[in-house]
Symmetry: C2
Subunit: 292 residues, 2 copies
């Protein structure tokens, strides 16, 4: 192995420290950040994830309320819940846990979250604001992947970047976040004729597809940075989309899975929570001209 | 010259026919589409443009009201005007004419337009919806450029596409419109090290920078499609971003400037107007459950 291993946990820890300081400052102004998590139905698998999220939020000084609604709730009722949370000044961020029952389309629910409380960065206007280089609340995984690249000693302006995977909440947002930073970006996906032609020309490769072993060492330029966003279970182990062994021999930097993008994604959610709280505070102050 | 010249006027004429039919149908349901154009200050140059827009809208069967506000209007007053237009069911689309006085930031005004009346496709949530492949109202120039490519006998799935220029309302939206159609897209810009490396590998090149002669024949793959979105004045003539003579010798298809993307952009605005009117009709029907 020649690649330097990127320590996602250390990057996340630094971000959480910043979040904690910011949360303390906001609390002193009467704006202690508070997240509400919405899950629907009996989702045992998600429960562990939510509890973990809650633990990390509270460790960073954010209040976290986990709500669970019965499987039988309608989209209209749930939209009503959202309207209530949007209007409640004590709620600063709304997290919609997946999976949702099939009668609740996740996009419809995401659109019901007020953009200022959209800590997951999923609302169409949050996505559009990223395109406009107004980098307030972005989708957590995409923002995390880019934050990781920014820690490396690379000049991003003019950097040739290949993004493999063009999902709406990971691949595409990474693409225009990187464009906004001045990189030359190529986005590949399942219809791309030869992914290796593009990946081998790139100084940095992001992969977010969900296929273990998709990226191999021979698809990389020697010394390139490889940010692996995939999370797959193979023979009881969690692995990314890269064939770690062969990639680590060619890449200059590589993220492990687990311990790479994952922890930074959670830290980004918490960072979004304090950002959202600050935006709401500023919005209230402007709207009501209250001195705080 | 070996390239086939793409006839933007003919494409626009077909689109306008569809708009006219759709407008007639909407009018029969009590929803005759109506556009309101907002310009601010004494803008002689823009006036000709607005009058031309009005003529074309009316020829397509759309009502068009051109409003001019004095230079002295504040952002707050203009936002108030927008709120009024948003609430008025007789207004289906709002066009903000540029240039605006420096004390009126165009983005703030665009955000004040209700997304369902955003016929220019500039609101962050309109942009975000494109990213989400929800291709309702897109930015006119980007949509027009893509519509032109779609008229060519090319299989867009897997097509290698190079977009030169990464502006928020042209280059980037073209990129994800093309991604949504299955193309492999590379976005180049002023920080890209070697644009020719990317453009020469592409089956289709979009250029939207505003620099005459930027793309030359030797930067193209023989037989590629070249969609030229630039509009520049050179020695009293209107030219695009491509060196037409050398490009036409190499490309398979090429858009002229003028007469290429320009007329299709105007037709796209009109198409957005009938789309917006239909969305508003559907929205009202759903909200008030009125049989029409």
């Amino acid at each position: 192995m020649t690649a330097t291993l990127i320590d996602g946990k250390a990057i996340a820890a630094r971000m959480v420290e910043e979040v904690r300081a910011e949360a303390t400052e906001l609390a002193a102004k009467g704006w202690a950040p508070r997240l509400v998590s919405i899950s629907v139905g009996d989702v045992a698998a998600a429960e562990l994830y939510v509890r973990n999220q809650q633990r990390q939020a509270e460790a960073a000084g954010l209040a976290f309320e986990a709500r669970n609604y019965p499987e039988t709730i309608s989209l209209e009722q749930l939209t009503g819940v959202m309207i209530g949370l949007n209007a409640d000044p004590r709620v600063n961020g709304i997290i919609i846990q997946r999976p949702l029952p099939t009668h609740i389309p996740v996009k419809a629910l995401q659109k019901a979250v007020h953009p200022l409380k959209d800590v997951e960065g999923m609302h169409p206007s949050s996505i559009g604001n990223i395109v406009y280089n107004d980098l307030a609340l972005g989708p957590c995984t995409a923002v995390a992947a880019v934050e990781i690249l920014k820690t490396l000693p690379l000049n991003i302006e003019g950097l040739d970047v290949c993004v493999i995977g063009h999902s709406e909440i990971v691949g595409k947002p990474i693409a225009f976040l990187m464009m906004g930073l001045g990189a030359t970006v190529t986005v590949c996906h399942h219809m791309t004729r030869q992914v290796a032609v593009h990946s081998r020309a790139a100084d940095a490769v992001f992969v977010a597809v969900g296929k273990p072993g998709l990226v191999t060492g021979e698809m990389l330029k020697p010394g390139a940075a490889l940010i692996d966003i995939g999370i797959n279970r193979v023979e009881g182990k969690t692995v990314g989309d890269a064939d770690f062994e062969s990639c680590a021999k060619v890449a200059g930097w590589i993220t492990p899975v687990p311990g790479g993008v994952g922890p930074v994604t959670v830290a980004t959610l918490l960072k979004n929570a304090v950002l959202a709280t600050r935006m709401q505070m500023d919005h209230y102050s402007a709207a009501f001209a209250v001195e705080r």
